[in-house]
Amino acid sequence: MTPLAAFLIVAALVFAIGLAISLTRRNAILVLIGIELMLNAANLNLIAFWRFGPHTSGHGDGLTGMMFAIFSIAVAAAEAAVGLGLVIAYHRHSKTTDLDAMTRVKG
């Protein structure tokens, strides 16, 4: 079985790359992609800790970490929908998705 640290390192790499995307790219959609990558890295951490943690001790049924990840996936989907809707609405007003040109949000 692959050790826990390997999964955590992969998650840290994906998180750092997502952070780099959202800090360095200029397109608003790519910044949203970077945020999605960071959320996915967090989900990988949750699932890895769920797998390596104790399953039967405590009051739970051994499903808590998995449920956390599943709800996190659902919330991330809602976040993506709203973010991309905002980008499309901005593009309709000012014909740009360049973050350096997006200086005003008032209609």
Binding site: V10, A12, N27, E36, R51, D100, G107
Partner: protein
Amino acid sequence: MIFGLSIVFLLTAILTVAGAVAAALLKNLVHCALSLTVTFAGLALLYLQLDAQFAGFSQILVYIGAVAILVVFAILLTRGAGVPEYRGYSTSWFLGLIISAAVFALLGWAVVKSLPVSAAASEAPAITVQSIGAALMSSYVLPLEIVAVLLTVALIGAVIVAMPEPRTPKPGAEQGGGK
């Protein structure tokens, strides 16, 4: 086995990280979205290796099936196909790169320092999709309903935000210096 890691894990990890790096470096936005899909698939494979079948398949359904399609639609609606970005990176890209490298160094240091190297994995949990469904309907029913409401509100809100506005300006409203 290389460094005590299985070949399958190494291949999946390399696929995942390579997709993310390609999304960070490619010029064409559609190519970025497609390499993002590769990363999502690699993460789903990692979930499957962690015996989380339900999470893996919902990752495939939600991310590859919905979020990636949504990203591609947004790119095509805002730029048009095949038009590359003229200058893809912000002026302070070096600072952003340093910050993210520092974050990775911190996370990696914490992981390496804090874990015993041979953290023995427990038995594979005997969790079926049936037990997940039963738990969602019994002890997790309140979060499930809240997530349902959240998804409904978020999707309606996204449609309302992205809806075209009526063209008629309000009477008396000044046509402020837009065009």
